[in-house]
Amino acid sequence: MAKTKEALWQELSDSVLEMEEDRAVAAAEEVVAQGYDAFEAIERGLSAGMERAGQLFEEEEYFIPELLICSDAMYAGMDVLKPHLRQDDIAEKHKVVIGVIEGDTHDIGKNLVKTMLETSGFEVTDLGRDIAPARFVETAKEIGAQLIALSTLMTTTMEGMGAVVRQLREEGIRDNFKVMVGGGPISQGFADRIGADGYAVNAAEAIRLARSLVGASESVAA
């Protein structure tokens, strides 16, 4: 007997939370086979599961290894569902440019934030690691991003974050973008000093911050 879409959402969510990649793929394939909406299945199934995983991370039930395997299951399900998204599903997302600042090749934290942003309905352009400040600005302009997310784990590369904000100011486009920063040596005090719009202490916090920042920019625009 065919499962209801609600049952499949639950199945997708559980398989992400329980780190079962094959089960996520099977559930996603059934969503497609039943002709259920792919966007809804991602939102209510895979993303919901990743959000529950993020919750367990905050409660220190899950740690980085678990979150990575959860995200593997989520992406495996996503790969099945993505070709079945309608064009208007894709268009309505907030866009964000993310990357690790020049001189730093640690990207485990950045990858987590990227994953969580994607599951929270953001369209993420990931520049990778060791990225020059100017490239963040160029890319943000090019794709019409609302948000620039900068990460570093090294004190030696922190100043590059300030360079991004400075360049936005110099080009007179500071107000077009929100800038959020994170990573080991970063603090709220540092974010304030370089004129960033926000700082997040971990991946779960980064998602809340991203949502509130784009929410804020929307209300300004309206």
């Binding site: 780190m19 220190e60 899950y62 740690f63 980085i64 290894p65 678990e66 990575l68 395997i69 593997d72 001189g103 730093d104 090749t105 640690h106 990207d107 485990i108 990858n111 090294m154 004190t155 030696t156 590369t157 922190m158 080991g184 040596p185 970063i186 603090s187 005090g189 540092f190 000093r193």
Partner: protein
Amino acid sequence: MSRRDAMTPLERFAAYAAGSPVDRLPCVPIVGNTAARVIGVKVGAFRGNGKLIADAQVAAYRRFGYDVIRVFTDLYTQAEAMGAKVAYPGDETAYLEAPALNDPMEIDRLVPADPFKDGNLPHHLEAMQRAVDAVGSEVPVNGAVTCPFTNASFLVGADRLARLMLRDPAAVHRLCEVSLATNLAYAAAIMAVGATPSLTDAMSSNSVISPRQFREFSLPYLKRLIDFIHGKGKGVTLHICGKTAGIWQDMVDVGADCLSIDNDASLADAKAAVGDRVRLMGNVHPSEVMLQGTPEKVREATLACLAAAGDTPKGFIVASGCSLPTETPFANIDAMLDTVRDFRPSVPLIQAT
């Protein structure tokens, strides 16, 4: 600049451990590549130059008068000696460009490093030897050892290691085993030149892995390393970055003689939990306070550490929470030392000369 102290660091540590009067409490701003600034050279010049590292570290010790010299440039020296690719920017701290393996299936091809031949290890040993020769009669000289689990993360990549922990635990154990073999050889060489291994284990943090995973994948190897060092009659300082409250008991059980507490953890909690079993050091914020703060802010943070843990039953060393950023202002390092010099601890003091 810095005021003369009445005791040398070695005299101070000995008196402090014995409960005899000291001139001040021990203080260790953890100076790594900042030493390059003391002698006006580029950080990149340390690569392959043990004499220069020693010159810089000894000059920095003389300039600031802190209590431990720690030969350290970056976390990757042992991984590099096992095949990882390390990038050396001209004047910044080196970073891991690529792990030793691209495919975890190749683990069995890894061989332990020879500390007298491979990578930059011989140069770091030379630096320790020279520092010991120059000032070893007055100050402890430590050599930084990146512990088995963290070093393993540089052999396959941190995210790959994290996935292997859940998908192929046996592979993680094989990696830690070969990592440990390098650690043991390097620790032996460090002690052979008259220095003391100082253990640092960033990835074992509860900011990354769970206490349960720490006990399964990191602790057994850490224990063998510490047992080996103890067997040679040396004490062990163990630094794990980030959050560590969930594993303090384990860190003590495994034999650490001093826990270096990161700024993400609470010194007061550490004192309450394990201060009757182990000496503590920490935890002034390396970037927010030491790099970006003013001397006054450093003074406040230093006093806050002393208030939280200055009366730790097994002793306390004011320190930075982790290695200092290269560009830490000298005035801030002086401020940490001077605050400790002015502080009146609960232990007996000798009359300063």
